[in-house]
Amino acid sequence: MISCDYFKPSEVGEALKLVSQFKERALFAAGCTNILPDIHSGKQKDCVLIDISDLEELTGISKCGNSMRIGSSTTISELLDSSLIRDETPLLYEAALNFADPVVRNRATVGGNLAYASPAADMAVPLLALDSRVVVQSLDQGLREISLREFFVGPGKTVLSPSELILRVEFNLSQNFKVFYVKVGKRNAMAISLASLGLALKIDQTIKDARLALGALAPTPIRAWRTEDFLMGKFPEDKVMEEASEILLSEINPISDIRGSREYRVELTRSLFKRAFRAILSGERGLS
């Protein structure tokens, strides 16, 4: 039998009190696009639902000088409706376009997607590539900024303590990056990623900066450090791309599941990285 409880705090402070009271049982409920299926499938039987969907403090997309702030309960649709996101962060915009389907996008939130920490989390890839920080708060630890690079620790697991709430995601806008995002699913909508990749390169003769994030190819969404380090300072040419792709394969660790085998995911990684690299060089935008 399911025995849950529900509270609707009217402001963040109240939410934090509730979650410090109920700890592991507490679940922040915003879009509920993961929570409700988990309840129906029996994965969650005894949770305390803390409804944060109407908390003002968690909403809003704003640009503050050179940094972008996205409230954690911003829905994916809100990202797509924002001219700021469309114009300033095309990587995030493309990922949002490929997220689930338009109806789910009206409910799914950025914070929820990160907190659920699926290895295939579609918001994680662009946000990792953007070097995002997650701003969280709790009663016992106060306000904390966590780099998204350190945020995920395993499938469904983050560094958050049970009483921490994600307030917002922030990242600095960097100029002169050329970006490319691609997601491969088993169909063209309502598809869990088989592999997703976000590449951002700053090129001035040589590669001045490289950021490469991948989803569904490891126990968590990842940044490919060694590949990025390798690319720094190199000329953006084919043999560099080939060598980089081989290094990349050593950084991923995909599993075989009902969606695809490990071997297939390795092949996809190779193909998608090269595609992203070539596309950036040729000035092609966005999705493959």
């Binding site: 169909r187 309502m190 071997e263 297939y264 193909s271």
Partner: protein
């Protein structure tokens, strides 16, 4: 005379109710005091049941009944699939309501619960204790056919069915062949994935009649349910609802026996609705097949011999497996005139969920194989695939593989050519990793049930005194306009405007039994029955008018609300006064007509000869794809579907069947992957078992041919199932054309394609 209503794309009468949200589907219905039913299912695929203890569940507050096999008057029946009479031979299966002594498949029903709320039924399930003794199971039909395989069903030998086709002499044929193509093909499960889950409500009437209001394609199952309960047939009534998708998945009994038993036991109304997980795990699916084919041809492309060996996975209860196998056997050589054919087909039982009817009913599987063979033969011979078809297609007067003379036109050469030409000039891709390719395939699919089943259908028509009309016909409506089309027929024949016609459908006692909505038979059968009724009434009206007008009957026609003389338009009588005069004179203003399909005898042995079906529908697919060679993903750019429908009584409904069938077939070809491991389905959700979304398909382009040579009303053929036949091999052929890899198993997933492309590249580099 020009048809006025037939041939028009008028909206269905049920469409408005559906867009307004007013239709009460099966799960939308409630009754006062209603209980909720649930099925408790086996959690192992193969075991002996040592004991079932339901005592704790029975004591749970709110539980009104817990039923196991011992509570059922007849738990084991010979499944008759809605037939009135016994068929015998290989065609019968065991219909077992609840597991008895053993578990044959994961999820087999063991107990039924009725309680006051769904959560209580869930809790009750947790309180049922079953002691299992696990037994070795067999999960693959090839394994199941081995002599040492564990026994699955009632027979020691796991072969539920075996059929043969013998035409000419294949040894001699292959001796003449200059080119031989051999292929081994494998196709997997397909789930109907109808959006409406299996559901119904049952109650016991004040006189003890069990009434079942249910989403079902076959209301004739009332006979089997009656036998389960030990009641006379007259005491079980099915009220069929408008069905939210059937495709053959609601053709066997789904929830009805459970509902009847629970209602009968509790004497209260009971509702039972499956969950999606339950439906995907346990309900009947399309048969997986292994198919070995050998095709021999002369160098100029004339096929001289075809040998096929088919093995289907019959699941753990035969259900319709023998019938599906028979269809596959009859269709195995395809719509081709081949002098020497040898087919051996087997349905082997395994400890997996039941496999049964699904749109196409055995035709799509062999179609994938025989058309893959044709396209490979074309490649090997260096002959254009369209030309190869033209050299070998059946023509009117040729013998089918069964030796039956097909005496109607087979316009497949025209259809294939039209479809292929419709693709127009090919635009190559500008990106190096995207390859564009095209594929062609043809198909044949029967309409009308097996003729040895002696199929019949009935329809009732009555004229009202104000000129409106009422039709009563037991036809189940799965959404294809099965009920609606009958109103178009009556409107055409009697000149009654469509909005004055009311039709009652799908009540096993209050509407004449029209037979199953399966086998693409409703337009043919209930359509003809309704046409017969309408023409009989028309005959009476004309006879009366002739008398009143003193005009010869032959000179009179029904036109625009009156019966009028062809030669002298001033001689007429309006319908309303005519009807009223007929009524006053004691004439019967109603007709119940029966239409019989051709009758043949049950095959006496495994050899299938002669006529098996009333007729076939022929169609061709031309498909264009763009394959991403770096990911294996297939982008379907164009699907052209050319079908001879005989006569399109309602072109919009006909197009709807073609477009929907093409997409369902595309899902089968590319993405519907039901993964099963040791008898347990691993993909029991719509997030894992993927059907096409709007972004996965192009706009299907139907080309409709009207040869007027069908056996249905106005020369119509059936079009419900045929569009799912032909598309899969066309797609696979297009993939081959695009990137040089031949996929021989379905679904042709991106992973399979990418891996084949890699192998191809490796081989190229090596050579």
């Amino acid at each position: 005379m020009e048809l006025k209503v037939i041939g028009k794309g008028v909206p269905k009468y049920d469409a408005w109710g559906k867009v307004k949200g007013e239709i009460i589907y099966a799960d939308d219905f409630t009754m006062p005091g209603m209980l909720y039913g649930k099925v408790f299912r086996a959690s192992v695929p193969r075991a002996k049941i040592l004991s079932i203890d339901t005592s704790r569940a029975e004591k749970l507050p709110g539980v009104h009944a817990v039923i196991t096999h011992k509570d059922i008057p007849r738990n084991n029946l010979k499944a008759r699939f809605g037939q009135g009479s016994e068929i015998g031979a290989q065609f019968e299966g065991l219909y077992r309501v609840l597991a008895e002594g053993e578990v044959r498949y994961f999820g087999e029903p063991i107990a039924l619960i009725a309680a006051e709320a769904p959560e209580i039924t869930d809790k009750a399930c947790e309180l049922i204790d079953v002691q299992y003794e696990p037994l070795p199971g067999v999960f693959d039909p090839l394994e199941a056919m081995k002599p040492e395989a564990p026994q699955v069903g009632e027979k020691a030998n796991n072969i539920a069915s075996h059929f043969k086709i013998r035409k000419g002499n294949v040894e001699e044929g292959f001796a003449q062949a200059q080119v031989i193509v051999e292929g081994f093909y494998q196709v997997g499960y397909q789930d109907h994935a109808y959006l409406e889950l299996e559901s119904g409500v049952a109650w016991v009437d004040d006189d003890g009649t069990i009434v079942i209001r249910v989403s079902s394609q076959v209301i004739e199952h009332f006979r089997e349910v009656a036998e389960v309960l030990g009641l006379p047939h007259s005491k079980v009534r099915y009220i069929g609802t408008l069905i939210g998708g059937g495709f053959g998945g609601k053709e066997d009994i789904t929830v009805e026996s459970y509902l009847a038993l629970l209602a009968w036991k509790t004497r209260k109304p009971v509702k039972l609705t499956y969950t999606r997980k339950e439906s995907l795990l346990v309900h009947s699916k399309r048969h997986p097949y292994y198919m070995y084919y050998k095709t021999g041809a002369t160098r100029d492309g004339k096929i001289v011999a075809l040998e096929a060996r088919l093995i289907s996975d019959a699941g753990s209860y035969a259900a319709l497996s023998p019938w599906v196998l028979l269809y596959s056997t009859v269709d195995a050589a395809g719509p081709y005139n081949i002098p020497n054919i040898k087919v051996d087909s087997y349905a082997a039982m395994t400890n997996t969920p039941i496999t049964s009817a699904f749109r196409g009913f055995g035709a799509p599987q062999v179609n994938f194989a025989y058309e893959s063979q044709m396209n490979q033969l074309a490649q090997k011979l260096g002959i254009d695939p369209l030309e190869l078809r033209k050299k070998n297609l059946l023509k009117q007067g040729d013998y089918l593989a069964t030796g039956y003379v097909y005496d109607r036109p087979v316009p497949l050469d025209v259809l294939a050519e039209k479809a292929w030409k419709a693709l127009g000039p090919k635009e190559e891709s500008k990106k190096p990793h995207i390859k564009v390719g095209r594929g062609l395939a043809v198909g044949m699919c029967s309409y009308g049930r097996l003729t040895f089943l002696h199929d019949t259908s009935r329809s009732y028509l009555r004229l009202e005194l104000d000129g409106s009309a009422v039709i009563r016909c037991g036809v189940p409506d799965v959404g294809g306009g099965q009920g609606h089309i009958l109103t178009q027929i009556v409107s055409e024949e009697l000149g009654v405007p469509l909005d004055l016609i009311k039709i009652h459908v799908t009540d096993s006692q209050l509407t004449p039994l029209a037979g199953t909505t399966t086998a693409t038979r409703q337009l043919y059968m209930s359509g003809n029955a309704t046409l017969k009724a309408a023409r009989e009434l028309k005959k009476r009206m004309i006879a009366k008018a002739a008398q009143l007008l003193s005009v010869k009957e032959e000179d009179l026609v029904v036109d625009q609300g009156k019966v009028v003389s062809r030669n002298d338009p001033t001689k007429y009588i309006a319908l309303v006064p005519l009807i009223n005069r007929m009524s006053a004179d004691g004439e019967e203003l109603f007709v119940e007509a029966q239409f019989n399909a051709p009758f043949t005898d049950v095959p006496e042995s495994e050899i299938i000869e002669g006529r098996t079906h009333p007729d076939f529908t022929f169609g061709a697919y031309a498909v264009e794809v763009a394959v991403d060679e770096e990911t294996g993903k297939v982008d379907l750019k164009r699907i052209v579907a050319a079908f001879d429908v005989g006569k399109a009584l309602n072109p919009i409904l006909v197009e709807g069947q073609i477009e929907g069938g093409a997409v369902q077939g595309m899902g089968y070809a590319l993405m519907e992957d039901m993964v099963i491991k040791d008898g347990i389905i691993q993909t029991p959700s719509f997030a894992e078992y993927l059907i096409p979304t709007s972004k996965d398909v192009p706009d299907v382009e139907p080309l409709i041919m009207e040869s007027m040579t069908g056996l249905g009303p106005y020369g119509a053929k059936g079009i419900g199932e045929p569009p799912i036949v032909g598309i899969a091999p066309a797609i696979v052929d297009a993939i081959d054309d695009a990137c040089g890899v031949r996929i021989t198993s379905l679904p042709a997933t991106a992973e399979k394609i990418l891996m084949e492309v890699k192998n191809r590249n490796k081989e190229k580099r090596a050579s």
